[in-house]
């Protein structure tokens, strides 16, 4: 007896629970690998999984085994030249005495010291933002800059010839023709029937005048039918266009970071996550997101991502230099009418005292009116300095679009955006 069963439609991912259990158990190891990956990768390159390696010894399931040593008999196949009593030099490398199962038979390329597997993209991001309570990024439309787009919106009786809707015009014409012909055709039919009846009569009884009359009538009606135009001007229909506001599909994100001597690599790694989070958020909403990296100490410069995160500089700090540069770049390359502008700034709070109020004025007067959102993080466990206080006044003026937060470690990052996400969510309803 044999039964065949097609199991293919059955649920997949039977092991999903076990997989989650595994990831949970080795959370620490995986987190370490993910952190290394985040530091290694570009901000725009977070949308894929990651290969994770965990040392086998940390992951093994121990059982009682024989260790190396003692005397063993081994039967092997493929003897070519050995004779009984031959002595063979011990193969160099692992094991000497050849521990039973320990060390494993790893002569197949891959070493056995590492247990390697791949995290999926979702799992990877989850680890990146571990503890950050990542909001559901999808499905929350941003109220963003609107640009006008002309879309087809129904039909109209007049328009330019290039927008004629041929099918609709023809359909109108067809309807009109049917409607106009119907009464004439009916009269024609009656006349023809009357004529036929007249002609069937005995010639003596036939009324010749009536026949002539009917023939003239038929001719007249046929002419009228022919005269109905195939298409008429009032059949014509034109596609209509309506102006529709459309959310702009492009955004630019400015990453502004202080790279003066006081910013350590650790500060920068935290900042990287901060930028990353905003980037991921924007990426969900815009077809195109451009990144501009502006770093500054006493002077600001636009750089590439590599240089932004990893080269070191020393010196003092003048924040307004960066804000000025951002403003210039916006004027030159990203006119506010066409781009959604976002700025994310990270610093340790240092600034020349005199400079902070310049920053405030720059923000209030020039930048904020153009920007969608400005997020500022101060990565320091210490007290605030003048820059923070000046920014507070900016935040008071633009509570909707200006967010600032002091953070000590990566877990504090998400709350910076909480305002941003929350506001969008409530708007959705």
């Amino acid at each position: 007896m044999t039964y065949f069963i097609d199991r293919r439609p059955n649920a997949k991912h039977k092991s999903a629970v076990n997989r989650q259990r595994f990831l949970e158990r080795y959370r620490k190891h995986i987190k370490r690998s993910v952190e290394e990956a985040v530091n290694r990768r570009s901000i725009t390159d977070m949308e894929r999984g990651e290969k994770i390696s965990i040392p086998t010894k940390d992951i093994s399931e121990p059982v009682f085994q024989h260790g190396p040593g003692g005397a063993r008999n081994i039967v092997a196949p493929g003897n070519k030249e050995f004779l009984e009593g031959d002595k063979i030099r011990r193969p160099s490398g692992q094991g000497g005495g050849g521990g039973a199962e320990e060390g494993g038979a790893s002569n197949q390329g891959e070493g056995n010291d590492e247990f390697a597997f791949t995290l999926s993209r979702e799992e990877f991001l989850e680890f990146v933002f571990d503890g950050l309570e990542l909001p559901h990024l999808q499905r929350k439309p941003l109220k963003s800059l609107e640009e006008i787009k002309m879309v087809r919106a129904g039909l109209a009786r007049d328009g330019v010839p290039s927008r004629i809707s041929i099918t609709r015009s023809m359909r109108e014409a067809y309807a009109r023709r049917i409607a106009m012909r119907a009464p004439i055709k009916r009269a024609l039919k009656e006349a023809q029937e009357a004529l036929a009846a007249e002609e069937r009569k005995d010639p003596v009884l036939r009324n010749p005048a009536r026949v002539v009359e009917l023939k003239a009538e038929i001719e007249r009606l046929e002419k009228r039918i022919d005269a109905i135009p195939f298409i008429d001007t009032y059949d014509l229909r034109y596609h209509q266009l309506a102006a529709q506001p459309q959310p702009s599909s492009q955004a630019v994100m400015f990453c502004v970071m202080d790279v003066s001597g006081s910013m350590t690599q650790n500060h920068k790694d935290i900042a990287k996550r901060f930028f990353l989070l905003l980037y991921l958020f924007l990426e969900k909403h815009y077809e195109k997101v451009e990144l501009v990296f502006v770093r500054h100490h006493t002077a600001a410069r636009e750089v590439n991502e590599e240089e932004f995160f990893y080269s070191r500089e020393t010196g003092g700090t003048i924040v307004s230099s960066a804000l000025n540069l951002v403003n210039k770049i916006i004027e030159k390359r990203y006119p506010a009418g066409q781009w959604n502008l976002y700025v994310a700034q990270a610093s340790d709070g240092d600034n020349w005292d005199d400079d902070s109020n310049i920053c405030r004025d720059l923000l209030v007067k020039q930048l904020m009116p153009q920007l969608q959102y400005y997020a500022y993080v101060e990565i320091t466990p210490h007290d605030h300095q003048s820059l923070w206080h000046e920014y507070e006044t900016v935040a008071a003026q633009f509570p909707e679009r200006f967010a600032m937060r002091q953070i000590v470690d990566a877990g504090d990052i998400y709350p910076v955006f909480r305002e941003l996400f929350k506001r969008r969510m409530s708007q959705e309803r």
């Binding site: 039964y3 990831l23 093994s60 009682f64 008999n73 002595k87 038979a105 002569n107």
Partner: protein, 520 residues
């Protein structure tokens, strides 16, 4: 000989009706050969489902544990990188016998797999004495369902973490969950579930009885031993000064019945792991035989199909290539060598038994007087039913197979500088090689021999185990993590003593004591 060739199907595509017709033919031939099988349940699955099946050691239903997730990840990784092809087939010892076919397989592969698994392995499961003794094909699937539900319930009640730790500890000892010399009572899932509550209560009274002396016997209860009814002491363990009175090799059973601090649900989980270990116990000891038997039959059945004109030359050539790959045995010096291939060895021995029956040489008559010239089918059946790898090789490994595979014996003694070739495929060597290869497959040689010798029920409640060391082969480094797990289950200190020839060679303790730190 000209055969009127009317293949059932050609090409490499298959569909269910074609498979059914092939199965009918194979069933007819199997019947002709008197292969006794369970009914077959053939399930067609996708690659991912196959990886799932792998990860749960081929169990159709399994409880949740991180180690299965690890297994899944490593299979997936290896498969995706192309380092490993998935097995074309997976078969479960159950009634009906469940076999998985992968949808990507070609027609030839499906037919081969049906022959191999559904008639080869299936008849082995039904006939071999180890499987008959240790497993109950009728109830295994039900038992798995019960185990999964029970463990899920425990997770809900006691937390995933607590259950996971317990399972970790049990898994570490799962190779020590069988009484090798006692026959088990068959497991029945229904009873299992029905009597489980009873058992919980009963087990707990057992343990209470055992530990009643500690720290103070309650008033009115006579101290151990002597007061116990034989009913209360099913193992007869309480008599005599030492407990247990005889060494116990079934560590999980001992824990389940005697660990002082385990809660009833914890004992039940220990029992589940033990029962499943018992289910796999025959498989660990019959790999060569089981695969050899299945290969023998797929080879025989496929050739019959060809002889009868049911398959065309193309399919047959594809089959032969695949068959040759399966039974390939690279030499010890080949980069592809990873030990003896159980398929190759088993197939060679079964084919050779047939040859000895059909066309014995003078050598065969000398070595196998009982079977030389006997009817091959009966002899093969006898070999399949009554042996395990160890005894099968001891009994049936012929000089011809030793010569064909060019087997040789190396002695690796860490006190001698060089390895020594102790025997090769010649008259002087056959017996030694056979002896050595046989013991290479003996569980008692493959795994360290460890037994419980004393639970200090009147003292500090510590548990002492002996490792009977052989040929100076010490325990591997994993011994500490394992006894740590053991200590978690037992709840009190655990001592493990390695002994060889009555002399102590090493002591291990958990929690680690000063003494062993010095020794380590």
């Amino acid at each position: 000989m000209s055969v009127n060739r009317k293949p059932i199907a050609t090409g490499s595509d298959w569909n269910f009706s074609v498979l059914e017709r092939f199965d009918e033919e194979l069933a007819r031939l199997a019947d002709e050969y008197r292969l006794d099988t369970y009914p077959n349940q053939i399930e067609v699955i996708t690659t991912e489902q196959m990886m799932d099946a792998y990860a749960s050691v081929g169990m159709p239903v399994g409880y949740h544990h991180w180690s299965f997730g690890k297994q899944f990840l490593s299979v997936e990784q290896a498969y995706k990188r192309g380092q490993m092809g998935l097995a074309y087939e997976l078969v479960i010892n159950s009634n009906p016998c469940i076999a998985y076919l992968m949808e990507e397989n070609t027609l030839m592969m499906q037919v081969l797999v049906i022959a191999h698994a559904c008639y080869g392995h299936n008849s082995f499961f039904k006939g071999n004495y180890l499987f008959r003794t240790w497993t109950d094909a009728e109830s295994i699937v039900d038992y798995l369902v019960f185990a999964r539900k029970y463990i899920a319930q425990c997770e809900e009640r006691h937390g995933v973490h607590a259950v996971e730790q317990l399972l970790d500890a049990c898994h570490a000892l799962q190779n020590y969950g069988v009484d090798r010399y006692k026959r088990p009572s068959p497991i029945s899932a229904e009873e299992e579930a029905k009597r489980q509550d009873e058992r919980e209560a009963y087990l707990q009274t057992q343990v209470n009885m055992l530990w009643r002396t500690i720290p103070e016997p309650p008033a009115g209860v006579a101290p151990l031993p002597g007061s116990l009814h034989s009913d209360d002491d099913p193992l007869g363990l309480h008599t005599g000064g030492r407990y247990p009175s005889e060494p116990q090799e079934n560590l999980l059973y001992f824990i389940e019945k005697n660990a002082p601090l385990l809660a009833p649900w914890q004992r039940e989980i220990v029992r589940i792991v033990r029962k499943l270990a018992q289910y796999f116990y025959p498989q660990r000891q019959t790999q060569v035989m089981n695969e050899g038997w299945a290969c023998f039959w797929h080879y025989t059945l496929m050739n019959r199909l060809y002889d009868e004109g049911k398959v065309d030359e193309g399919l047959m050539l594809e089959f032969l290539q695949s068959h040759a790959a399966v039974i390939n045995q690279p030499g010890f010096d080949s980069p592809y060598y990873s030990g003896l291939n159980p398929y190759a060895l088993g197939f060679a021995i079964f084919m050779d038994i047939k040859r000895i029956c059909d066309a014995p040489t003078a050598e065969d008559r000398e070595w196998f007087p009982d079977i030389a010239g006997s009817p091959w089918r009966e002899t093969l059946e006898f070999a399949m039913r009554n042996f395990k790898d160890e005894s099968f090789i001891q009994q049936f490994l012929s000089p011809k197979v030793i010569r064909d595979l060019k087997l040789f014996l190396i002695v690796d003694d860490d006190q001698v500088e060089m390895l020594e070739v102790a025997a090769i495929h010649d008259d002087r060597g056959y017996k030694r090689i056979r002896e050595a290869l046989s013991s290479q497959y003996a569980l008692s040689v493959r795994e360290p021999n460890i037994q419980v010798v004393e639970a200090a029920i009147r003292g500090d409640r510590s548990l002492t185990l002996h490792h009977i060391q052989d040929s100076r082969r010490p325990l591997g480094r994993s011994v500490y993590p394992v006894i740590r797990h053991l200590q978690q289950l037992w709840g009190f200190p655990v001592h493990l003593v390695s002994m060889e020839d009555g002399k102590v060679t090493r002591r291990y303790h958990w929690p680690v004591e000063e003494e062993s730190k010095g020794a380590g």
